[in-house]
Symmetry: C2
Subunit: 190 residues, 2 copies
């Protein structure tokens, strides 16, 4: 059921890095993104997949992890993502990609979860350095990097208290994420 | 299976308007949106649901339908959406909502499809007039309007030919949508 999949689809930041993701799975998830809606049907998004260990090691230091966990510098070596999908906008096709990025990435992540994997959308990226590292041509702009792997952390959803949006980790390492309650996000029903 | 749901989730613009959507379904879909990821966990998105016939009639003329179908002025009276979800950004919480809108709307639409309904994200909206009509306070900015109902049209996915992005309708009224092939959107695999 979709609801179960959506609840299981958390922003995972720690993985079992001994578990690799087959190329076929990654391509299947991008196929799901391909079927998502696109503003004016322009479809300007492109994807670069990396499962290459050396490239992944070079990408890693350019990513910001979990801003609110100030004492945590990101996943340890054995917890790191085993694959990245770099989401690109092809500016030669369109400068405005509307909400295509979110629509497409949600499909990718739900696909990953259905296959027993998971990931996290990272927006805090040193884009200039990653673009150089990946030798991206000028017209391909990095929008987001999806870090992927076999999740190795527990994530607990909670009702938000007193407008405190900060996620936090308990003494057992479980990651707690406060969510605004339904009555707060449904502004009105007419 | 997720893939089937994603393929069934097309941008439907013609509905059987005699089929109403129960309020419970609409709330369940927003619950799915509530569980989507949010940049910095800010969760600034809010939702206004309208199933009110009079309000829906007033919203309708403020929407642009299917830009490439220049001879089609939008759904006929008996084909119109029976519900709208107005996706709002609460600017008092955050001005930057990152890709939250796409992530959340994908969940809403997949939920709708799973329940036998469907919808279309509309970006071509006379936002000023809709905001006035709905008496929205200053801090709630209209991002998108999702038109929803029981789909009453056939949509055919096709491989794009010669970079022609325009969707079109055949003589039987089926709506054809060209999609860029996988080999074109996967820029590189490392």
């Amino acid at each position: 059921m979709l609801r179960d999949l959506i609840i299981k689809n958390r922003s995972y930041r720690r993985f079992d890095s001994s578990f690799k993701i087959p190329e076929e799975n990654l391509k299947n998830w991008i196929e799901l993104a391909r079927f998502s809606a696109s503003g004016r049907n322009m479809q300007p998004l492109k994807y670069l997949i990396s499962t290459n260990e050396k490239t992944n090691e070079q990408i890693f230091p350019n990513l910001g992890w979990a801003g609110y966990l100030s004492n945590w510098k990101g996943p340890a070596k054995n917890e790191r993502p085993v694959a990245y999908i770099i989401v690109l906008n092809d500016k030669s096709l369109a400068t405005n990609y509307f909400c295509d990025d979110g629509l497409a990435m949600q499909n990718i992540l739900l696909g990953a979860v259905e296959d027993g994997f998971g990931g996290c959308i990272i927006g805090s990226v040193n884009k200039g350095r990653v673009a150089k590292l990946l030798e991206l041509p000028e017209h391909l702009e990095i929008l987001w990097i999806i870090a992927l792997g076999k999740p190795a952390e527990e994530i607990v959803l909670e009702e938000m208290q007193e407008n405190d949006i900060k996620y936090w980790r308990d003494e057992n390492g479980a990651h707690h994420v406060p969510k605004r309650p339904a009555k707060e996000i449904i502004y009105k029903k007419l």
